[in-house]
């Protein structure tokens, strides 16, 4: 009897464990199936390098270059803002802050991660957007830069918590060794702590960026949704995610436009997969 329970439990645990792989494989397969039909008809090169996204005009044009540029611009902008801030915040929390401050800061950073992206988008729309429009004297505040700002806000918790863990797992002995040699606190942090924690920090940054690329709701609300290749960060853009979310409801099931959106999803999946893979590579390295 006990043997049977044992093997049943083992099977259940195995199924649960394998399930996430199955899900990823199924989603990948589904995207590929729908997208592949589209790629065959329209051509991968045309799809990726096309400069115009006019899915409902006649004949329709499915060029996703403006969408890729939009996503990249918003993501890079967010990373430029969030990475230095996030890493410095992590340093402050783990190395400098007194214990009371550290606990409060940590719980607030974690709380930040819990804010739904719709709320962030909404708050950004009524606060940041008018501020951006007025300070830079723009026709509209719905720009790539605005999106970057709000997304930086969303990537911060991931970057801060994971880098903080990495920084804190640097053995105290390293710091002691450097300090005993007469290094100042800042020299120790810069040359020893940051160096030893670097793989973990890179992983944190990649995961933060992964979150930003996949983010949909907030960017849809505050980037202006204009499918054009922008000339500066102060122009409206449209991201890949926002395109899928906005247009999927209006398409004919099985139609060309419908399949184009799946193909777009496939491209997005490949990008996030690469980002996560790089993050994994680094966090695996830090454990050795």
């Amino acid at each position: 009897m006990r043997k049977i329970i044992d093997s049943v439990m083992e099977t259940i645990v195995f199924i649960c464990g394998i399930l996430s792989i199955v899900f990823v494989a199924l989603i990948f397969g589904f995207l590929l199936k729908e997208g592949f039909a589209f790629f065959k008809e329209f051509g991968v090169i045309n799809f990726i390098t096309g400069r115009f996204w006019y899915p409902v005009s006649n004949p329709p044009q499915f060029g996703i270059l403006p969408l890729i540029v939009g996503s990249l611009l918003v993501t890079v902008g967010a990373a430029v803002i969030a990475v230095p801030m996030g890493v410095m915040a992590a340093l402050y929390i783990s190395e400098i802050a007194p214990k009371g401050v550290r606990d409060i800061l940590k719980s607030f950073v974690e709380l930040m991660a819990a804010i739904p992206s719709v709320v962030i988008g909404f708050v950004g729309m009524v606060t940041i957007v008018p501020i951006i429009r007025m300070t830079f004297n723009l026709p509209t505040g719905l720009t790539a830069f605005t999106g970057s700002l709000m997304l930086a806000f969303m990537a911060m918790p991931t970057i801060v918590t994971i880098s903080e863990d990495a920084i804190r797992s640097v053995p105290w002995a390293y710091k002691e060794g450097a300090l005993a040699l007469g290094a100042t606190r800042w020299q120790t942090v810069r040359r020893i702590v940051l160096k030893a924690a670097m793989p973990g920090i890179v992983a944190a940054v990649m995961l933060g960026i992964g979150r930003v690329i996949g983010e949909t709701m907030a960017v849809m609300m505050i980037t202006g949704n204009a499918a054009q290749i922008p000339h500066s960060i102060f122009e409206p853009v449209r991201t890949m995610t926002a395109t899928i979310a906005a247009e999927m409801g209006e398409t004919v099931r099985g139609g060309m436009h419908y399949r184009a959106l799946f193909a777009l999803g496939f491209v997005l999946f490949v990008i996030t997969f690469i980002v996560n893979f790089v993050a994994d590579l680094f966090s695996g390295k830090s454990k050795k």
């Binding site: 053995p171 002995a173 390293y174 002691e176 060794g177 450097a178 300090l179 005993a180 040699l181 007469g182 290094a183 100042t184 020299q187 040359r191 020893i192 160096k195 030893a196």
Partner: protein, 251 residues
């Protein structure tokens, strides 16, 4: 002989717990002073007070004074103090970089050596020779310091301290994790080093104290029980407690 370090009425506390009680002790220039005593006798706390490594512990507090060449160390800049008083820990802790970088790290930070490559090479070679490690690593200075054996790592740590040219070196049970042969090598280099430096050695190994110490201090429960020439103390200790400890009756 002049006193390099003079400790006056030093008491140390962790929170309310007193770990060292009104200690008066002196360290003579170019000697090896070994400190022995059972666990919890305050040896390490004493050592870590001498270059203020305990300052990072928020529970730690102290009374009294320690003079290094007539300067009160508690009024000194800690980085400057630690440049003059180097410390070697029980566990060898090479920094996560190459052998070469490990040694030039501190001199570069402190401005002891100029940025010129040839100057740095000279510092590295001299420090490694003084720590009797040069012959073993001269062909692989650019490999990671983590790949060295335990004994080599510990001697690398000694070389790292020598590179900043301190006046006093504190050894905190430097051989507790090493095999007998590596231990012998570290002891050998300690004896060579006392010609240039003043050394304070904390050890759990009574035999080690008798092998390398010029004078030996016996600590018990945060108090200095006896301080004498090593030869004298190991032959005819004045206190009963000292005799019991060095003959292995307790501790």
């Amino acid at each position: 002989m002049s006193d390099k370090i003079k400790v006056e009425n030093l008491s140390c506390f962790y929170g309310k717990h007193r770990v060292l009680e009104s200690l008066n002790i002196n360290v003579v220039k170019n000697e090896i002073l070994t400190i022995i005593g059972p666990a919890n006798s305050g040896k390490t706390s004493f050592l870590r007070t001498l270059n203020r490594m305990n300052d990072f512990n928020p529970d730690y507090s102290r009374e009294g004074a320690v003079y290094l060449d007539n300067d009160n160390i508690f009024e000194m800049n800690t980085e400057k103090l630690r440049k003059r008083v180097g410390m070697l820990f029980a566990m060898p802790i090479p920094l996560p970089m190459t052998i070469y970088e490990n040694i030039v790290y501190a001199p570069k930070r402190l401005g002891v050596v100029a940025g010129k490559k040839s100057d740095q090479d000279a510092v590295v070679e001299q420090a490694l020779k003084d720590a009797s490690l040069w012959d073993e690593v001269k062909d692989r200075l650019d490999s990671s310091a983590m790949k060295l054996s335990g004994g080599q790592q510990q001697r690398l740590c000694i070389a790292r301290i020598l590179a900043i040219n301190p006046e006093v070196i504190l050894f905190d049970e430097p051989c507790s994790g090493l095999d007998p042969i590596s231990t012998a090598k570290v002891e050998e280099s300690m004896i060579e080093l006392k010609e240039k430096y003043t050394i304070v050695l904390v050890t759990n190994n009574v035999k080690q104290a008798s092998r390398v110490g010029d004078r030996t201090a016996f600590f018990l429960m945060g108090k200095l029980v006896e301080l004498d020439k090593t030869g004298t103390m190991f032959v005819s200790p004045k206190q009963k407690q000292t005799e019991d400890y060095i003959t292995g009756r307790f501790g």
